[in-house]
């Protein structure tokens, strides 16, 4: 679990407005008409209340990928206090966009907190923890296997995963 900085002041109002769902893609596909590789970068930040690191990570990753030639319309950014429903809806929308790609590249970076279901390493099912509540509800956690199931990246599309959780 990530260390929570002690010097952070809790600013609920700021946290609420951090909920950004930036849908920069105008259509269901990207750069389809240019003959270039179809690609999409998904940048997800799931901070707990008062945390700033995750959104900073998204901004930095955006700039790093822009340096590598990603165009602004090749990004989808989801940042802010997230729920399971919101994250899965986002991923289902992505699936709708990439599902018919014959090839291409999908980048997925997640900056947030991790969790495991199970008590033994052999049975561990890693996931994302969307709250700092002592007893998180089902709506406040998502397993990685559920993330991949929602994305359903086509076989010929390369998925690059950078989990910081």
């Amino acid at each position: 679990m990530k260390r929570i900085p002690r010097w952070h002041h809790v600013q609920p109002a700021q946290c609420q407005v951090m909920l950004l769902l930036v849908l920069m893609l105008l259509g269901p596909t990207t750069v389809a008409d240019t003959g270039q590789t179809q690609r999409l970068a998904l940048l997800v930040a799931a901070p707990w209340e008062g945390e700033t690191a995750m959104v900073n990570d998204v901004v930095a990753t955006y700039h790093a990928l822009r340096q590598r030639g990603f165009a602004p319309e090749e990004f989808l950014v989801l940042a802010g206090p997230l729920t399971r429903s919101l994250l899965l809806a986002f991923l289902h929308d992505v699936q709708r966009r990439i599902g018919a790609w014959p090839s291409g590249e999908v980048w997925l970076s997640f900056s947030g907190h991790g969790t495991f279901r199970s008590t033994t390493a052999a049975e561990a099912r890693p996931g994302l923890l969307l709250t700092n509540a002592l007893h998180p509800s089902q709506e406040e956690q998502v397993l990685w296997e559920e993330v991949f199931a929602a994305l359903q990246v086509p076989a010929a599309v390369q998925l690059t995963l950078l989990p910081d959780s």
Binding site: K2, A53, L65
Partner: protein, 98 residues
Amino acid sequence: MALVMKAEPGAELACRARNARFEHQGHPQERGVISYYAGQTLAQATTFAAWLQRIEALSSADLQAGRLSWFDQPSLQLLGPATARLPGEPVKVGVEQR
């Protein structure tokens, strides 16, 4: 392809990702440690193996210089073909200007 934390034997169920403060435009900025080093090295890397090498080199240099604690130093591994090329094109540096 995935760049993930290594699990030490016996600590497979521990969460290991950290946040730390790094200098950004002259000011300290809170960042995820993995994201910070991944982002700092991403632009110029060609393959996933080269990317991991750059991350390890930069974080080790920061550790030696006292900019990163040993506790926060990332220990990463690649899942997938290491020689695969990263998405996009690497930024070329060191090109002689005329």
